[in-house]
Amino acid sequence: MRKCFRFLSLGLIAVLLGTLAIGAVGAQDETVLVLGVDQEPERLSPLNSLVQGGALEQFYARNVWDWDTERNIYPIMVEEIPTIENGMVTENEAGNTVVTYKLREGMRWSDGEPITSADCEFGHLVYTDSSTSANIGRADYAGAVESFEVIDDLTFNVVYAQPYPDYASNEFSNARCRYPNHILRPILEADGSLDQTSYFTAGEGVVGYGPYRLAEWDKGQSITFEKNEFWDGQEPAIDRIIIRYIFETAQMRNAMETSEIDLTYLIADPQLPEYEAIPGVAVWNVPAVLADAVWVNTAEPGHPALHDVRVREAIAYALDRPAMADGIIGAGTLVPLSWYPPSLWYDGHPYREYDVEKANALLDEAGWVDSNGSGTRDKDGVELVLRFYTTTRQDRMDYQLLIQEYLSAVGIGTQPIPTSATILFGNFSARGFFAAHDFDLALFANSAKALSPVGDPDTYWCTAIGSAENPDGFNGMSWCNPEYDELDAQISRTIDPEERAELVQRAQELFYEGAFWHGLHVRRNNFAVNGDRWDVASFEDMGTLTNNFFQKAEFWQPAM
């Protein structure tokens, strides 16, 4: 037994030492960058609800045009950006907007086939015909675009259903030229749908127009991109980009410290100091499009106190939102003035500053006082205690506790309930707390169209209030102001910028008066790169949107 045990122990030690020796990092001949990502897309485009899935497209499938970090538009697949001035944006007889696209000559898919108007026409078909796939993130395209006219192999018109000022900035309603007609049309004709094709579900045979091509997708482990020999733009300095999936935040940081990864992004704010502490690692951030906010249920079955706008206003006055953002997210964090993107905030934009006295006065005025000495206000025998939901994201739960403290100081009780996103955001039929109006306060982030000249939120029109008849309506606050809806619709078809700015300002005033959305912080996208191996300056120009972080990957350079 003793000998056996010794033999076993020695054997194990030998295996351990042997494998440790094997583990030494070997030399590399080619330039390879490893990008650490914490969520793997379920499938590649078209539908991908994960930010990461869309972001990865920047490596292998670019848009017709894109936006830099200064929010300037630049052409990619087209010869020039269509404008009224260059005659490529016109009106048809019905007064609706017609945009002419002129594709650049010589562009090829990563399998060598030429890119033509037929590819964009196929994109139009998929985005307008639901029967082609139930798994398409169609956004506004089908509602906005009336028809598609092919003029020649490289020229086509997109005809909108109304005057459409958003044709350039709304990335989901301009031409869709990412899907190769020569591959996908035969599949569609054979199967009747794109839902089951391994092109999307397994990434088999994926082609695109980008600096890299998809070489391999090892599910759960990595995605490898290799240089696309048919890319006619800037030649990338990096031969291979490998996406490595690391699902645990501490492990991502460990992998950065051990140089197993070179670059990572979407780092949570509280983790930034840990990355900054790694020798040789450079950390930076760009503004993001999501804004976290407290959403207030204004109608039944929400708390009766919240039907009164004065109570909703009091909640905003009771919260020191800049202090909370500084404490939880980091110094200098932007507190949003409205759910419209910052580019649409105007001089003198109203904002409810932290003012406890004003909060108390409003609550008193609304008749909510602490008549029974319980420590919380009450009215007609009903205590002012609010059900406060959020997801299990740590910074949101931290916010919940701080908000509970602030509201407690003005006599409002809260019951913080962190819950899973599947329950909070379920639709009306599934009794999702938000859509089914079964909450008093909720904390989550909303994505606005950061570049749009017209704002976003038709999701929150009166017609979007969830009900048995409208189970997918996502206006959980039940806030309904027909004037706002009309204004928002008007904004979306007003071409004249000055006229549109006036309408936007009025819409935001109404929105402010409703006092059902109290912005907490605008998110920022944090990045970290190994500065010992890579030229940090060449990486800093990351995108501003949720899906264009890697729009300049071909310009990334190794350290000198």
């Binding site: 094997i22 609800s49 169609r138 089951q196 410290e257 639709n427």
Partner: protein
Amino acid sequence: MTQYIMRRLLQAIPLLLIVTVLIYGLLKAVGDPLAHLANDPLVRAEDRAILRRSLGLDDPVALQFLHWLIGDDWHQRDLDFDGEPDTYGERRGVLRGDFGESFRFGRPVTQVIGAVLPNTLILGVTAYIVTVVLGLGIGIFAALRQYSFLDNLITTISFILFSMPIFLVALLSVFFFSVKFQEWGLPSLPTGGMYDVRGDRSLDELLVRLILPVFSLAAISIARYTRFVRASMLEVINSDYIRTARAKGLSERRINYVHGLKNASLPVITLMGLDIPFILSGAVVTETIFGWPGMGKLFIDSLTILDPPVLIIFVLITAVAVVLMQLLTDLVYAWLDPRIHYN
């Protein structure tokens, strides 16, 4: 014996049916599988509605369960929302060998699970073998040297490891063997992943990357087995028949490993038998921390995004494995202990 096995297998059918009904009901109660699309500005409400209907999520729960069981190719749905049912379903149901399609991946559940099951088996079986070999060895070693310094040391280490959560063991092992070893200029182990993404996916790479997850999984289990084997072995070697064997002049080796270990192994077999099914279900924490694409990671992802077709098959596989392993354990009892008969 054959009759006994047949009876146990037949008894398992209603049990598995009850498990399935319960899990199906629970999964329906915990949320909306399409909730992640609800506030996605890319996904139109009408597309969500079509998706919901085509997946059968609009049907009453009992009907959904029936479809899962026997298929929906006999049931028409109104997919174009014109008020008239127009399209037959395409599922054939579990009883006809169709285990459904993952909502998340858009691929058959068998493919989704089949892709990760081998990875889980590599990790789980390795950790299991290491656990059983070392757990038995150390447990016997400690029992045969009761109250010695080494026994006390093993007991102390066992209690410490046994009290530690697995994520702590995993993260500490990475911190020392990956991060600190590299900092100190020693050969270090990788932080995670099954292969080096820059490498050639050789067996060497796999072995290197197995070390830390296997260590994390096995460390706590070895502590548990050690305590169990030690207690069981002590009970046996202090019994009358061992004393008799010793009086008859049998060698210590024969007494300990033939007469002692065989009888001490009955409770240990129970423990081993109950652990095997959970190899299949993967190690959620370890796989997540080490980026090991296995069943545990699949389970937690499927639960997060609520992918019922995957979850229910996952639970069903585990339930079947538990039933089979319990049967096998009972049969091993009869082999080890002649007093046990099932006829």
